[in-house]
Symmetry: C2
Subunit: 241 residues, 2 copies
Amino acid sequence: MLSAEMIVDTALRLVGQHGAEALTVRRLGAALGADPSAIYRYFHSTDDLLLALADELVGQAQDGWRPTGDWRADLRSIGLRIHAAYQAHPQAALLAAHRTTGRGHEMLAVERILGVLRRAGFPDHEAVPIYHAFVDQGLAFAALDAAALALPAAAATADLQVWRQRYSRLGADTHPNIAATAPLLEAEMRRSGYPFALELLLDAVAARHPAAGAQTGAGAVEAPDRQPEQAADPMPEQDLP
Amino acid sequence: MLSAEMIVDTALRLVGQHGAEALTVRRLGAALGADPSAIYRYFHSTDDLLLALADELVGQAQDGWRPTGDWRADLRSIGLRIHAAYQAHPQAALLAAHRTTGRGHEMLAVERILGVLRRAGFPDHEAVPIYHAFVDQGLAFAALDAAALALPAAAATADLQVWRQRYSRLGADTHPNIAATAPLLEAEMRRSGYPFALELLLDAVAARHPAAGAQTGAGAVEAPDRQPEQAADPMPEQDLP
DNA sequence: GTTACACGTCAATGCTGTTGTCATAAGCTG
DNA sequence: CAGCTTATGACAACAGCATTGACGTGTAAC
């Protein structure tokens, strides 16, 4: 007997074991030992199944997460967890990262991130854009890096070889800046740009933290407190359902 | 008579006029007034065509761009231009933003961005990670926002309605932070998070600018110069081929 | 004039998501 | 316990997808 949960689990396993092209209704049906059309008894369409997969990934990313009261560490851990959960299922991530599901795990994540920012003391009109930038950056990088993993093997290796075989051999006469940094570039582009981009975002958010004395206008960005998260907690911790 | 350029232009026009699903070999052939299989005379596969589209987009983004000598303004304009060029062709962007083409326009963009950073005075070991974070964030957001535009109309409106119909009606007892910011959230999530995320990245990069006195270690981030880009230009401007 | 090649067409293959129909089994109602 | 309803999955079919190989046809070169 099938169930929605069983189908979602099998779909994620299918994506994890086999590559990018494994997630089709036909193969999913075969993996379940059932006719492909049986899936439509539980999901209105493949898009519906996809949203369920997306919410499952968001749920896995948060599994066991607890706020520490250190807003910067909390945001960092949420961002890296979301990124890691999506990396574990690249094909599903590639299709799901751009969607708004409105389902339970997603709502919990929104609530928690907003809670971290508001407890840190950010006023609502700043917390909301920061939330938006933070979560979209995490999802966007998750999709970007997932796409590299989900590519057919031929295309993936071809993309990586470009840095070694093409950019490393450009002449200093036509491309001086690339030629000067080619070894650094080749090493840098092997890994994800997300961890560093996340730190940059957290740096900028810290500079706007009320404890750092930054204002919202076009004025100067002053020196941020390096441990603003250890200031008095203006909002009590509360666990969410 | 067909040509590679004609096929690329037609493909972009096809994506622009009709929606996400318009870019198929069959419809592209029909739009060209030719048999679909004729496309394979000019492109080894659809992946090959895709890389050509990607490089064309990167080229359009840079069309007419000139460095001003203000590194922050230059990075901002490049980021917004890439984002805008990809938004103009969402379906192509969605498929192409994750790829490394190694083709001419892409190499020009890499060269120019590295040039902006190095002329601004960033040492190579800092310019390269900053380049990586900047370009990947731009491409990642471009793909994220393109995905929203490339969705089938039904799914796109459904995703937007989620914020109005589901998040706006959550109770303060179970989701207090969402409930407190629901109107702000609904307005915020209508637009792209990229412009603000880009400013945050530029803020953080400015704080690491040599003229700002920041060091690479774990020390304090000091107050950044608000116009570091108007400092003496350590590297001469040079137009690239 | 003949040979070679570039170009586009045609037909076919094996995928894909999706739908409508049908059989079977379970569980509830009388 | 008999009969009816409903849920569930199987089966077959449809249209559309990328891709490939064989087949002409026109053009250019020798």
